[in-house]
Structure formats: C-alpha cells, structure tokens
C-alpha cells in the first residue's frame, strides 16, 4: 500500500497512469509470447487459471474469492481451441488499441468490431466470455482495457479530480459542482484524485438507492459528515467498486455502505467488501475494510421500522448466504439469524416514518461510529 499521509496533501500518486502502463505491457507480452512461438515454428499456447467452480476458492487473507492453482492450457494445435485462441488474441488487440488510444467501448462494441476482422462471435455471450478470458490471462479487469458497461452510478462530494481522458487531460472538477452528482463513467474511473483535504473529506458513504442519495445531498450530509457520497444504483458496477477501493486506499478514509434491510441489500454490501465469485480472477475490485452500516435486521427491531414480511425467495436467499464463506463474520451471522427470526425486511426509506431528516440526524451519526463490521 502506498504511504497515505503525504499523498493526501495535494495530488495522489498517479495510480491511473501507472496502471495503464502495466496493462499495455501485459498485452504486449501476451502478443510477444505468441509471436515468438510462431517464429520458432511451434504451435502457440498459453496457460491461464481455470475459472471452473471447483477452482474458485475463498481467500481469508484478501477476504475475497480467488482462483485456485488449477490452470487450463489453450493451444492453437487443438482444433477445438484455435477459434477461442484467435478470438482472445483479437480481443487483446482490440483492448490494446482502445487503451493506447484512450478510447472507450462497451461490450456490445466488442461484439460488432470483431466482425470487421471476420472474427465472428456467435453471440454477445461468446464475446463477453472472451473479455473475461482476457481478464483472466492478464488479471486486469475490462475497465482497465477501456471496456465499460452502461453507466448508472454517481458520486458527489467536496473532492477534486483531474481527468486523464483525451481532450480533458489536466482538467479538474470538484465533485460537488453538480447537485445531482457526477456520473461514474470511464472519465471519472480514470481520473486522479487531487487536492484532498481531510477537513473536507474523511469518509465515503455508498448508498444503494438514488432517492436516499439525493436526500443526503439535499440535507448536506457531505458537509455535515465530511463525506463523499456514492450512489451504487443497486449492485455496484465494477468501475464503482474499483473507485471505492481507490478512495479507501489512496485517500485512506473509511467506506460506509447503506443498503435496504433485506438479504439482497446485505449482499450488495458484501460484494463491495469481499468481491464476487464471477470476478474471482481479478484483484483490486473489493474494499475489505468497508463497513456495512445498515439497514440491519436488528435495526428493523431497534428502530421499530415499518416492514414487509420476507418472501419465500428472500428466505431461500438467506439459506444460500448462510453457507457462503464470506458471511462467516459475527455481524453477518447475527443479521442472518435476526432476519430469519423476525421474518421482516425494511427499505432505507422506512426511516421517513420518523420524519424526512431522521435518518440523517439520528440514524447516520450512530452508524458512522462503527469502526468495523
């Protein structure tokens, strides 16, 4: 981890440029490896970790899912491999172009661009899968290759960023300049953090729902609690998870997560903290020290929140989560048990029962006292 104290003064270390350099190098290495094998009259091959379920393990140290030791070999000598092999190289080439030219693209673009090279992908799923292969081979995520999903997350707070995308290089923006928040897209994901003042920002608050995000801005939560607010819009996109981790590590500030009080909300928090099984081949997407502030099942009881009964689907989900190694911690066990016991769920908005500002004035300060889960 980079020493945090000095960095917070002015401009954080250029983690984005450094990372981009590493991405480009890894792509060139992949190409170079294949190139050399062909020059040597060998059928090109490469190995990558297996993504089969049996090889997805939970790592207590990093507190996330990782891939085990099993690996698969892809060989151009094998008629069943050569097509995905070629597709992977094409994807790498496409990613290389995007990254070096600072262009962004969506998964859908990848699918269509391939057709120009007579690299037919059967369907979107096949090209998506190849992107995941490339992530596995290089252990960089697609956002590192400038392949982004649709944007839906937003950020708001008194923090200034400096863009690195073409046309905006060096331009700065204070993230409180727009009252609706700023969309977390490719430009923001690749922006550097500058002029971080601990007196203005000493925590991050991630919120599941847009309504509450807006309420927090209106109630000036960012000022009252010196917080940067992030709207995850349900399950946080990877770019947002990556950004949360950077904020946590580069600014050295705690991250609090507020979700609905149900099994699904609980899992939104968990994915931010411990990552997802789908991304077991990737690192740097989780924030192990992030804190789930609520809404807990015990909150429903303690605050006497208006609630709905848990459905069969909710209960089934609870059973699944109970077996999940990520939920081994005491808090998680307690909350799962409580959900089971009370058989109730409450939305974040349920606090409105006590007036619109109750959540900001009473609930939030109580929760922000948490040091960990």
């Amino acid at each position: 981890m980079v020493p945090q104290t000095k960095m917070s003064r002015n401009k954080s270390k250029s983690s984005i440029k450094e990372r981009k350099g590493k991405v480009l190098t890894s792509l060139e290495e992949l190409g170079g490896q294949v190139y050399k094998q062909i020059v040597d009259h060998e059928f090109p091959t490469f190995r990558m970790p297996s993504r089969s379920i049996a090889n997805i393990l939970y790592d207590d140290k990093t507190r996330q899912y990782i891939l085990g030791k099993r690996s698969v070999k892809r060989s151009a000598r094998n008629v069943a491999h050569i097509r995905p092999f070629t597709q992977l190289l094409w994807t790498a080439m496409f990613a290389d172009e995007l990254t070096s030219q600072n262009k962004t693209s969506t998964l859908r673009d990848v699918f269509y661009s391939a057709q120009a090279y007579e690299m037919d992908f059967r369907d979107q799923a096949e090209s998506d899968n190849l992107i995941t292969d490339l992530e596995t081979v290089t252990s960089f995520s697609r956002e590192d290759f400038n392949v982004y999903p649709e944007e839906r997350s937003a950020i708001f707070g008194d923090l200034t960023v400096e863009y690195t995308v073409p046309g905006y290089e060096g331009k700065r923006l204070n993230l409180s300049s727009h009252p609706d928040g700023v969309m977390i897209g490719p430009a923001l994901t690749t922006a550097e953090f500058v002029q971080h003042d601990r007196k203005k920002v000493d925590k991050i608050i991630a919120i599941e729902k847009g309504g509450l995000f807006t309420r927090f801005i209106e109630e000036r939560v960012h000022q009252k609690y010196r917080a940067v607010l992030i709207h995850t819009a349900g399950q946080a996109p990877r770019a947002t998870r990556f950004l949360l981790r950077r904020l946590n590590q580069e600014l050295d500030v705690p991250v609090y997560i507020f979700t609905d009080g149900d099994p699904w909300g609980m899992h939104i928090a968990m994915v931010i903290i411990s990552g997802s099984a789908n991304a077991a081949h990737l690192r740097d997407l989780n924030t192990p020290d992030a804190i789930w502030g609520g809404v807990w099942a015990t909150d429903i009881v303690d605050y006497k929140l208006p609630s709905d009964p848990l459905t069969d689907l909710d209960l089934k989900r609870l059973n699944e989560l109970e077996k999940d190694p990520r939920y081994a911690g005491d808090l998680w066990k307690r909350e799962i048990d409580t959900f089971r016991k009370v058989k109730k769920k409450s939305e974040q908005e349920a606090f409105s029962r006590y007036g619109l500002t109750y959540i900001v004035d009473k609930y939030l300060p109580a929760k922000l006292k948490l040091k960990s889960n």
Partner: protein, 527 residues
C-alpha cells in the same frame, strides 16, 4: 308373371373396352402413358427373348386438337426384337387375350393384354386403324398389316395384308396408330418412365421424339442382356382349383402320380407317392374320375403339404448386381471416377431366390449416394417389378414402408432427408404380388417384405462404410479449414500486439497439421 331378361354374351375385347379403367386407360393423360408403357414393354420383351440388346424408337406426334389438353396424336414404336410371323400378326394385335404370355415365366406383361388395349383405346377414340410392320429375320420378307379390331366379335378386321422384300435385312416390329392423348399432362410421367426404364434395362437404347419435337436418347451402358427366363410348370403351392381342373381336363396321364409328375415342378415319382398318401387320395382315383370335391381336396392338400422342394427359380430373370449398378450409374450421372475418388457410392445386391405362396421371387436392391441425388427431405425410392418401373402410388408400396418405417437408417450413417440417398428395389417373380390390377404397387406380403428388408440391410453395410469414410474425410477437411482460417489471423494479431513489423510464416505449421492428421492431435490433448 314373367320377366324377360336378355342375357347377352360379350366378347373379351368388349369386356376390356367396357372396363378399360382397370387396364390403366382412365383419362387421355393416363391413357397415353399406359399406351407408351405397354408398347415399350412388349418391345423390350421381344428383344430379351432373343437375347439381343433392345433398340427402341418411340415417336409421339400431335395430329389435331389442342396441344395443352386432350387431342389426337399418332404413336409409333419400333424395335429390333424377334418379330411376329406374318400369319399371326392379325390375331396377335386384333384379338384380345391372344398371346404368348400364358406360360409360367417372368415377363413384363402377364396376359399380353396391354398392347391390344392401347390399340383398342386408339381405335375407339380416333376411329382409325393400326399399322403393324414386322420381320422375323434378316432373310424373311417384311409383312405389313393394317387392321381394326371388331370389338363385339373380338376379331381383327384386316384392311391390308402385304409382304415386302426385306432390303435392309431388318428384324423387328413397328406399330403405328392414332390415339387420343393429353401429352402436356402426361409428359413428366412419360419421361420418368423412360429414365427409370433406362436404369432397369441398362442394355437398351431408347429414343423418344416427343410431340414438341424434342429428342430424348437413353443410351445403353452395356450390351450384356440377362439370360432369358426358362418356362416352367407350376409349383404345387402356387395353383388354385381352377388351374388344376383345367390341367386335369387336358392331361393324358393315366394315374394321379403321373399327372403330378408331368404337370408340376419339383415332383418326382417318390414325392408324388408320399404326397398322395398324405392327401389320402386312394389308388382308384385317376385324372378322369376326379369329382369337383376331389379336386378341392387335392388342391388343399397341395397347399398344406410341406415337403415339396422350393419352387425352381430358373424361370426368373433378375437383372444381376453388375447390370443394376450400370443402370444406376449411367442414369444418375455417376462415373467410375466419382466412385473411385469417394465422391459417390453405388452398391447393388441380389438375394437368393425365395418363395411366397408357391411363386418364386428374387429381390435385388441398389443403394446410391451422390451429390447428383436431390435430398428434398426424404430418401429417393425407385421401385421396379420384372424390369418395369413402378411410378404411381409410391406410399402404398411395400418398399416404401420398408424404406420409411422399417429400416433405421441411422444405423447406416444415413440422416434421412439430409444424406443424398437413392434406394432401388427390384422384385422379380412369375407372379408379382400387385395390390391392385393397376400394376403400380406391391402388396406387403410378409415373405416379400422380409426379403426386401434383408436385402437393404445387407447392402446397407457397405453403404455405411462409404458414409463413415466420407464423414471422416469431411471432418478432416473441416478441421483443416479451421486451421487455415485461424492460424494466419493468430500471426496477424500477435504481430500487431507484439509491435513487430513482419508477420511470421504459418505455412510450416499448416503443413504439419495436414501431414500428421488427427493422430498427432490426440497426443496433444493428452498432454
């Protein structure tokens, strides 16, 4: 109370005129098809009896009336067959149920009826006469007869009967007459008939000039003519009461034992004695004093007695595996080169003679696969009986049932409707078990069906080898295509990724894939 009823005797000609439907003369389009078919078949029989490769010339010309509907046409058929002696021409053509086909041997027609029906139909629809010219040998004079049929009397009315010197040393028969026809409707069936005849009679040249002036030639692929069938006496399992009654009337045998030995095949003195004991026909019975009840008793005993030897099959004249293959190849446009290079397959098989109800029969089948065969979502079936193509009512035929229901083609690597496959079934018998008098489809007699199933299964084994090999080659080709498509791309993409200038050569790698084939690949996968 009296009712005056007039009983009128009608002649055979009159009977068939009144019942022309059963002989296939239902409409002008069906009639012209039947006319051509009957005449061509008579000609083919006339040639095969002599063992000469047939040369058949057929011309159909439009005379009057509309061209796209029923009109008057003249039909002419010439052959190089054995010819008909001048004396019997009038009866042979002008008298129904007079002919050479009442003995037991395999011929196309059964009663010599069809040719005369054609003449009869022509006469009643156009009121014109028929011209028959024939010579029985290069040194004989040529007889020319012009006649009509007196339908009520079943007698020929001779209008001209002359002989000419045979300048060209010709042998054969030529017939010409007018008839009502609808060529526009019958055309496709007539052409199908010609083409399929050319398959099953591969040693014949058939020339057809159609009313639109088009010339169709079906050339022979061989001059080998199968051996002509020999005549035989009936087998005891294959006779009925009427036949035995007739034989009893004409025989000069003094005892039943002698009668059996003389008039039936597969019966010697010993067999006759044993059989008569089995039938409990006492010593006193002779052919002369048999009562109708005795005849019935005798025939029933014949049917039930199991120790007769199987019918003699020398009266059959199958085509043979080689000739059938020749016919299939030439009409489907499959060359020996195609077969040698594995692009096409033709396999034929002849079963041993078998019997049903006392009648001997032989099944021959052919299986062909080639890109020339249209798939159309089904297996193409060609049916033949006694060297006649059967074109109508396919779905009612026993072969259709076998091909579409009984045989599981997947066992032979055939995907019905996808694999181009033609199945040829030829049934030879002294009595083909047609389901109806129309002679268009064969009944599913268990013995016959069994033979067809076994024939196809047996022939299918070699087809399977061919299709497996073809499948293997196709897989191999596909595999190479994959490498040819992707290896250059891998070179291109990796060059770009590695920021190199020159793309590396992949030809060595490509060659190695072809050289070692799949064996090497298996090795790779085990690593």
């Amino acid at each position: 109370m009296t009712v005056a009823e007039v009983f009128q005797e009608i002649s055979a000609a009159d009977f068939f005129y009144r019942n022309r439907d059963i002989a296939g003369f239902t409409s002008p389009s069906r009639a012209v098809y039947s006319t051509i078919r009957e005449l061509v078949e008579n000609s083919l029989d006339a040639c095969e009896t002599m063992g000469v490769p047939p040369d058949i010339y057929l011309r159909l010309s439009h005379e009057s009336g509309p061209v796209d509907g029923p009109g008057v046409y003249s039909v002419r058929v010439e052959d190089n067959g054995l010819g008909i002696p001048g004396k019997i021409i009038p009866s042979a053509f002008g008298q129904v149920l007079y002919g050479s086909k009442y003995k037991l041997r395999q011929t196309r027609g059964q009663f010599g009826l069809g040719g005369k029906m054609a003449l009869l139909y022509g006469q009643v629809t156009t009121h014109s006469e028929a011209q028959i010219v024939s010579s029985t040998g290069p040194k004989d004079r040529v007889t020319e007869v012009i006649l009509r049929i007196d339908i009520q009397q079943n007698k020929p009315i001779i209008m001209k009967n002359k002989t000419h010197p045979n300048k060209h040393h010709w042998r054969g028969t030529a017939i010409e007459f007018k008839t009502e026809a609808d060529y526009s409707r019958a055309m496709s069936k007539i052409l199908d008939y010609m083409k399929q005849t050319a398959i099953i009679v591969p040693y014949a040249n058939i020339t057809f000039v159609d009313p639109r002036g088009r010339l169709y030639r079906f050339l022979r692929g061989t001059t080998t003519v199968p051996e002509a069938p020999t005549e035989t006496s009936p087998h005891p399992h294959g006779v009925d009461v009427e036949t035995v009654q007739r034989l009893l009337k004409v025989t000069n045998a003094k005892t039943l034992q002698e009668f059996l030995r003389k008039h039936f095949q597969r019966i010697g003195d010993a067999t006759a004695r044993k059989f008569l004991q089995y039938a409990s026909m006492g010593q006193k019975k002779t052919p002369r004093n048999m009562t109708p009840d005795d005849v019935v008793k005798l025939v029933n005993a014949m049917k039930n007695y199991e120790d007769f030897l199987a019918p003699d099959s020398s009266c059959l004249s199958p085509l043979g595996e080689d000739l059938l293959a020749t016919g299939i190849k030439k009409e489907l446009g499959i060359t020996d080169d195609d077969i040698a290079q594995g692009h096409a397959y033709v396999g034929t098989l002849q079963r041993k003679p078998a019997t049903y109800a006392g009648f001997p029969f032989i099944v021959e089948v052919g299986l062909a696969s080639s890109k020339n065969i249209p798939t159309e979502g089904k297996i193409l079936l060609f049916r033949f009986a006694n060297k006649i193509p059967l074109l109508f009512d396919e779905a009612s035929d026993v072969s259709w049932k076998v091909v579409n229901n009984t045989i599981d083609w997947r066992n032979y690597k055939v995907a019905p409707g996808e694999t181009p496959l033609a199945v040829f079934v030829h049934l030879c018998s002294t009595k083909v078990p047609y389901k109806t008098v129309g002679k268009e489809f064969i009944a599913d007699r268990p013995d016959v069906e069994h033979e067809i199933v076994n024939a196809i299964r047996e022939a299918g084994r070699t087809l399977k080898l061919y299709l497996s090999k073809k499948e293997h080659l196709a897989t191999e080709r596909k595999r190479l295509d994959v490498f040819e498509k992707y290896l250059p791309k891998i070179a291109q993409f990796s060059t770009k990724l590695a920021k190199q200038k020159r793309e590396p050569e992949v030809s060595t790698l490509l060659k190695s894939v072809m050289k070692y084939g799949p064996a090497n690949e298996d090795e790779q996968e085990q690593e």
